[in-house]
Symmetry: C2
DNA sequence: TTATAATATAAGCATATGATTATATGAGGT
DNA sequence: ACCTCATATAATCATATGCTTATATTATAA
C-alpha cells in the first residue's frame, strides 16, 4: 500500500515525541493501539494510580493522539488513526513488542471490561 | 533495500524519544544528519548560547545518538548511523524538512568551518 | 610559556514534569 | 433523591529540565 509521506512542522513533531518519550505514555499507546482500553484497565496494566493514568490520558487526548468514548460508567480510549503524525507513531510502535500478551493476561483474569 | 526490523526495549526507545522530544535537540539531529557540524556552527544555526548547545550535545553523545570527533580546536558531531534506534530515528527525521538550506546559508555567509 | 580560540563543565535559578492524596464530577442502579 | 462506581480534577511536592553566567579545559599559535 502506497503511503504519501507526511511532512510535519518541527514543533508539532517534537511535541508528539515528547509525549511518547515518557515510558508510561508509550505503554498506553502500545495498549490502546491493540484495542480500546478503559482507564481502569490501564491502571491494572501499568500498575500506577488512577489519577496518574488519567493525567497522562489527558495529555494524549489534548494532543489528539487518542480518542475518548464514554460507555456507561467507563471511558474508553483508543488510538487516533487520523493524527497528522500517525505514520511516524505507527512506525515507532512497530518497533516495539505490542501489548497483546498483557491484554490477554487481563482477559484471562477476567479483568477486561466488556460493554455492549 | 531490505531492512530488518529492529526491536528495542520500551525503556530504550522512550529514552531516545525523550531526547528527540526537545525542539533544540531535534534540530541538532536534523543538522548533523546533513553533515557533521562543529559546536560553533550549531550555535549559529540554533541561535542559542554555546554552553546550552554543548549540554544538549552531551546528552545526545551519552545516548550515542551522535559521534564526536575533534579536529584541532573544533569538535565535530555527526549522526551515529549504527545506533540501535537508527531506523526509527531516520524515519522520524525523514518526515521533517532537512537542514540543508540552513547549512547552505551558513556556507554563503562563509561561516562554515572547513578542516583538512 | 604565554596567549588565544573553541569547547566543556559547574553553579544557580526558574519552570516543567510526574507522582500522590484528597476531592469533585457524572452516569447508573435502587 | 440517594448511593455507588469509574473517572476527572485540584492541590501539593520532589525531582528533572533547560537556560544563563562564570570558570575550567584543551589545542594551537606566537
Amino acid at each position: 500500500m502506497y503511503m504519501e509521506k507526511t511532512y510535519l512542522s518541527i514543533e508539532e513533531l517534537s511535541t508528539v515525541l515528547k509525549l511518547l518519550g515518557d515510558r508510561t505514555r508509550l505503554d498506553i499507546m502500545r495498549y490502546v493501539s491493540v484495542d480500546e482500553c478503559c482507564v481502569c484497565e490501564l491502571v491494572e496494566l501499568l500498575n500506577l494510580s488512577q489519577p496518574s493514568i488519567s493525567q497522562h490520558l489527558r495529555k494524549l487526548k489534548d494532543a489528539r493522539l487518542v480518542n475518548e468514548k464514554r460507555k456507561g460508567n467507563w471511558v474508553f480510549y483508543s488510538k487516533n488513526m487520523n493524527h497528522p503524525a500517525s505514520e511516524i507513531i505507527n512506525g515507532i510502535l512497530g518497533h516495539l513488542p505490542d501489548g497483546k500478551k498483557e491484554i490477554e493476561e487481563l482477559s484471562n483474569q477476567n479483568m477486561r471490561i466488556i460493554c455492549d
